[in-house]
């Protein structure tokens, strides 16, 4: 009962923090897509770059989130900037990896067909390879987004706001209901985004006629 009372009392704040959290997640995921998809194309085109790029993105994943935030605070200060920086770095690996996997997975016959009828390499990438790889790329973006929602709760520690504020405040004041509010809200957001992007992925597969292979 206490918990429901708390939710009712803090309705306005909940909406505001949810909004902040969404912006933090959205901006970071979007930036990770803008960097990650081209990187995925690069590592597919030039095999020599694959090791270093995937290696770097992999090492980033092993750095604990709190340590990463602390590291980025040094050059970027407090607030939203280092938070977004950290979130982008974490989101990169699934996007780069899936872009690479998606592009490599396009049927060789189809690529030869594209070359044979006279696509330029750029046209082939834009009109054949990326569309056919899209569902796999979207799946990577989906993973990245879910990771981002989770890690974004930690960025409250460096003053970036979001649902993590409830958790941090709950911890410091010993108010477990406040902690639960932050955790539940972030989990629901992660699940909804996962489901929503999953729908996009499914819709794309249907559109690309990849769901009823004989």
């Amino acid at each position: 009962m206490d918990f429901l009372q708390l939710v009712a009392d803090r309705q306005g704040e909940l909406v505001g923090k949810t909004g902040e959290h969404l912006v933090l997640t959205g901006v970071s995921a979007a930036a990770a897509v803008l960097i990650g998809v081209p990187l995925g194309i690069v590592v597919t085109r030039w095999a020599a770059t694959r090791g270093p790029v995937l290696g770097f993105a992999g090492v980033v994943q092993t750095i604990p989130s709190i340590a990463m935030l602390a590291l980025l605070m040094v050059p970027l200060g407090l607030g939203v900037k280092p938070a977004i920086g950290a979130l982008v770095l974490y989101a990169l690996l699934p996007i780069v990896r899936n872009t690479h996997a998606g592009l490599t997975g396009v049927d060789r016959d189809i690529l030869e067909a594209a070359d044979g009828v006279g696509f330029t390499p750029g046209q082939r990438l834009r009109m054949v390879e990326l569309p056919l790889a899209a569902p796999v790329i979207i799946a990577g973006i989906r993973t990245a987004t879910v990771i981002t929602v989770g890690i974004a709760t930690l960025s409250a520690y460096i003053g970036a706001g979001g649902l993590g504020d409830f958790i941090v405040r709950g911890l410091s004041t010993g108010n477990s209901n406040l902690i639960i509010l932050g955790v539940v809200a972030a989990s629901v957001m992660a699940l909804l985004l996962d489901f929503g992007i999953g729908l996009v992925e499914k819709w794309l597969r249907r559109r690309l006629h990849q769901d009823r292979k004989e």
Binding site: D109, E112, V117, G118, F119, V128, L132
Partner: protein, 250 residues
């Protein structure tokens, strides 16, 4: 005319695929490159539109060296039908057919009209098939789409790389007959690769027999059946020739 002059292809690992091939392909003829797998026939075909680059010699298309032409322009000017069909699964039948015109910058209405015209030509009524997707078609229908896609920008030359190889015998026979009929209407120069002797005999004006990268003989069906130039050609056609003779005696 397509002219091969002493053309060789050696792969990076040193394997020779085609050795010193000279061959003139005349305007309007259907020439079949015949041989078993690894004989160099597909390599020969793919050197024409530079899916594979030759190592030595020259290939001229209508008097122009292919190495002097812009590669995408060269490819768009030559129709190509693939062994693996190679339709784009994410594009509708109409979009597949008009993919080359689109690359050439034709407007939407003209592409649409051309696609309808071509689908009509191979008995795929556009009203029914234009907006379907490749995976909704049978293998035979897919390859019909593959054939007309190659014709979309009205190229003078059509390269066909074992296009009917993956189809069942019945469908293959039907498509061969359709190609003969189609060819009588459109009069393209067709270079057709196959390992199937009967397919070669059905389609060819001239047959070029290849073996281990060398051209053994090129000539009309009669010439090759009656006067095989090498032991290999004699062996290859021995059986069908005997069967044909048997049929003739009855």
């Amino acid at each position: 005319m397509i002219a091969f002059d002493s053309v060789s292809k050696t792969y990076a690992d040193g394997t020779p695929a085609v050795r010193d091939l000279s061959l003139n392909i005349e305007k309007g003829e259907t020439i079949v490159l015949l041989g078993s797998s690894g004989c160099g026939k597909t390599t020969t075909l793919k050197m024409i539109n530079r899916l594979i680059d030759l190592s030595k010699g020259t290939i001229e298309v209508d008097g122009k060296n292919i190495m002097d032409q812009e590669i995408t322009a060269l490819r768009r000017s030559i129709g190509y039908v693939f062994q693996g069909i190679g339709l784009f699964p994410h594009l509708s039948v109409a979009a597949n057919v008009s993919v080359v015109p689109r690359l050439l910058g034709w407007d939407k209405a003209r592409c649409r009209k051309r696609a309808a015209e071509l689908l009509e030509l191979v008995d795929l009524p556009p009203g029914e098939y234009a907006d379907q997707y490749p995976d909704q078609l049978s293998g035979g229908q897919q390859q019909r789409v593959g054939v007309v896609r190659a014709l979309a920008a009205d190229p003078d030359y059509l390269l066909m790389d074992e296009p009917f190889g993956a189809l069942d015998a019945l469908t293959r026979g039907a498509l061969q007959q359709e190609l003969v009929k189609l060819q009588s209407e459109i009069g393209k120069t067709i270079i057709f690769v196959t390992h199937d002797i009967f397919e070669a005999l059905t389609l060819a004006d001239r047959i070029a027999v290849m073996h281990e990268g060398r051209l053994h003989q090129v000539g009309s069906k009669e010439e090759i059946l009656k006067r095989p130039a090498t032991d290999f050609v004699r062996e290859l056609f021995g059986k069908p020739a005997r069967q044909l003779k048997l049929l003739g005696e009855n």
